[in-house]
């Protein structure tokens, strides 16, 4: 099944592996038949079927037949064995086709719905398969009359558990991408830790299982939940399979066949399903949070782009103007210092433009900050300037507290973005007030412990406690055109600078954030940087 294996080798390899699985798990059989408590071999067959479709039928039939001959010495006689194998291949084939039709283009274990569908198909198919198989054996007298239901249950449980527990792992292992993702998920020390815990729990619980009828089985949930919650589905798949392997080994090794092994297997199936569900939920949550991060990065980049547009515009304007001037100079036949000078300026300006672009690219790539010493008053004056025309338009009074020399180590553009967000919000808040009562205050103060506090206050209606709770949730916006990311973004920027951003509940709007001061100012106030 590996791509490195040539196509012709895949079939014998499958048969060989199938035989190995069958032999290794041929434990506690009923009547010397293939009715055992754990059959991972059909899981292998199903994965093979998913890859090859109907072409898997013949090798599967060969594998079943040779297992009967080699592992069990064909207890049912040739004709019946042929018939039973044919029936089983038919039944498995139906499951395989159902899965193939359902999951031809998608992964089976991506979300809860698919997991449920997969488990449903496997269970229903196994039941159907078992009914036919047991009826055949029963009709031909291989199973004593009256034992049909018990045999059905055992065979059904063995097959179901085998598929539920093993198929995800085999499915993950056959594809290059699956192997890579499994590796990246479990290749860490923590894996060893939960496997060790699993081993320990099994070792200490198994004695009690023999004596007290699974009273302490639930301890086994510990390592599985650990694996699932930390490493998602891949961790759960590994943990569940490892536990099953250990249980089988323990049973085989201690010859503890007198215990209710089938019930144990049922419990194990539940354990597997719970583990997979937790794993998938964890994966889904991670996926969502990853997507959100991506969206935020995009939104941040969009805002950065807007901020950078102005910075980019200046060198571009200068460049094109110099260029036009050079054109006229050349037309006039000038080639002296005037032209050289202009060209020199063009080179400088293109460097300036490139620098702006580089910053945007850096931000896209890493969200990296470009730290520089920024004067709070300069920052405030700069941002106030940008808002002056629109504030003027709407009759909003902007009050700036008297500037103090307060320097911070920060990415100027990112902080401008935060202030712009807060001022834009404040503007929206005060527009509901009548003209003359629209006021926004912007203030920077020094706090103890070398910290700077920036406050944006507005004369708007303020923030209620219920709104405050949802204010920093992404995609929650009170504005029709808002994406609901402004405050989330602002907060993450401030936090990336080692600060905090919050809103205060009150009768007018108050947003504050704290940033650590640059060390030199923190030590000696007023000294220029």
């Amino acid at each position: 099944m590996r791509p490195s294996l040539s196509r012709h080798l895949q079939y014998p390899a499958f048969v060989g592996l199938y035989l190995l699985f069958d032999w290794a798990t041929y434990i506690d059989p009923m009547y010397g038949l293939n009715i055992t408590p754990w059959n991972p071999d059909p899981a292998l067959g199903l994965v093979f079927w998913l890859i090859h479709g109907r072409k898997a039928a013949l090798p599967w039939f060969v594998a079943l037949l040779s297992a009967e001959v080699l592992v069990r010495g064909m207890p049912a006689g040739l004709p019946l064995t042929l018939l039973c194998s044919a029936w089983l291949v038919l039944g498995y084939g139906i499951i395989g086709e159902a899965l193939r039709r359902r999951f031809s283009s998608s992964n089976m274990f991506d979300n809860r719905r698919r997991l449920l569908t997969w488990a449903g198909i496997v269970m229903a198919g196994t039941l159907f398969n078992a009914v036919g198989y047991m009826s055949l054996l029963s009709l031909t007298g291989r199973i004593p009359a009256g034992e049909w239901a018990t045999a059905l249950l055992r065979f059904g449980v063995g097959d179901t558990v085998g598929m539920l527990v093993s198929m995800p792992l085999i499915w993950v292992l056959v594809s290059e991408r699956g192997r890579e993702r499994l590796r990246s998920a479990i290749w860490r020390w923590e894996t060893l830790a939960y496997l060790a815990l699993g081993g320990f729990v099994l070792w200490s619980v198994f004695g009690s299982i023999l004596r007290c009828e699974y009273k302490h089985f639930y301890f086994l949930f510990l390592p599985v939940i650990w694996a699932a919650s930390r490493q998602g589905l891949y961790g759960a798949v590994l943990a569940v399979f490892a536990l099953q392997l250990c249980i089988i080994t323990l049973v085989k090794w201690s010859h503890a066949v007198h215990i209710q092994f089938y019930e144990l297997q049922l419990l194990d199936a539940m354990l597997a399903l719970v583990g997979f569900f937790i794993g998938i939920v964890v994966d889904e949550v991670r996926q969502v949070s990853h997507e959100l991060k991506h969206t935020m990065r995009l939104a941040a980049a969009g805002e950065m782009a807007a901020a950078l547009a102005h910075e980019l515009n200046q060198p571009l304007t200068a460049l094109s103007t110099y260029g036009k001037a050079c054109e006229y100079l050349l037309e006039r036949g000038e080639s002296g210092p005037l032209l050289q000078n202009a060209i020199g300026h063009m080179i400088v300006e293109s460097g300036r433009a490139a620098e702006v672009v580089r910053r945007l690219r850096d931000f896209f790539r890493t969200g990296a900050m470009q730290l520089e010493v920024v004067e709070a008053s300069a920052l405030i004056a700069g941002i106030a300037r940008q808002f002056t025309p629109q504030f003027h338009e709407h009759g909003i009074e902007l009050v700036l507290a008297p500037p103090q020399p307060l320097a911070i180590n920060a990415d100027r553009l990112q902080l401008e973005l935060v202030l712009r967000n807060l001022l834009a919000n404040a503007q929206d808040a005060v527009l509901g007030q009548s003209r003359g009562r629209r006021r926004i205050t912007l203030r920077a103060e020094r706090l103890d412990g070398g910290r700077l506090r920036l406050s944006v206050e507005d004369s708007g209606p303020g923030i209620s406690s219920s709104l405050a709770a949802r204010l920093f949730e992404p995609f929650v916006s009170s504005k029709a055109s808002g994406l609901g990311l402004g405050l989330v973004l602002s907060r993450s920027i401030v936090e990336a600078h080692g600060g905090q951003l919050w809103a205060e509940v009150g009768s007018h709007g108050i947003f504050r954030f704290i940033l650590p001061l640059a060390r030199a100012t923190a030590a000696s106030p007023g000294e220029p940087q």
Partner: protein
């Protein structure tokens, strides 16, 4: 450009300022560069002629405030507003304050030159009109009080024989006064006389 018209450039970005100075200089315009609105206001003189190119976004006083201030000061220079991100609000504000044009950075240079030329001709038109107005006022001042009385009655459309009894003089004297008025003001018909006389009532 042979006139004494100057393009005054107010932009806080040294590179943009310098480049504009070079380009317009090469094209034969006289330029004067200012790095902020305050500097321009300090240096501004009423006789300055030409046009002002003002960037909106500047440190200190912004471009639109400078434009409004100049309007208050009665500055006649047409204003071309320049911005990196032209939105409708800004453009509307600029035009409400009688901007001559509104350009986006980076410039379309043909548009820029066209805007400057248009501003120049607009300025010239304004100045020409003002000059004519001033000349008219100067001429009106040369009239004697009696002549002014006669003129005011003439422009209301009265005939000489109606004016004479009003002023208590002979029709012949009215005719003499009227001829002198026309002569002093340099007009040869009543329509032009009406136009000039209206300057006095403004």
């Amino acid at each position: 450009m042979s006139s004494n018209l100057t393009v005054f450039i107010v932009d806080d970005d040294p590179a943009v300022r310098d480049a504009l100075g070079l380009l317009l200089g090469v094209r034969g315009y006289r330029t004067a560069l200012f790095s902020c609105a305050e500097d321009f206001l300090l240096g501004w003189q009423r006789e300055w002629a030409g046009c002002v190119l003002i960037d909106i976004r500047m440190s200190g006083m912004d471009g639109l405030s400078l434009q409004r201030r100049l309007l208050e000061l009665g500055c006649l220079l047409p204003v071309i507003i320049v911005t990196g991100h032209g939105d409708v609000t800004l453009a509307r504000q600029a035009f409400k304050a009688q901007a001559s044009d509104f350009l986006e950075k980076p410039f379309d240079h043909d548009k820029l030159l066209a805007a400057i030329d248009e501003a120049f001709s607009r300025e010239a038109a304004t100045r020409g009109q003002l000059r004519r107005q001033q000349q008219g006022l100067d001429l009106l001042r040369t009239l004697t009080p009696r002549e002014r009385e006669v003129m005011q009655l003439v422009v209301t459309g009265r005939h000489n024989r109606d004016i004479a009894p009003v002023l208590g003089i002979s029709v012949r004297t009215v005719e003499v006064h009227k001829a002198r008025v026309m002569d002093k003001l340099g007009v040869d018909n009543v329509a032009d006389l009406v136009r000039i006389s209206m300057l006095a009532t403004d």
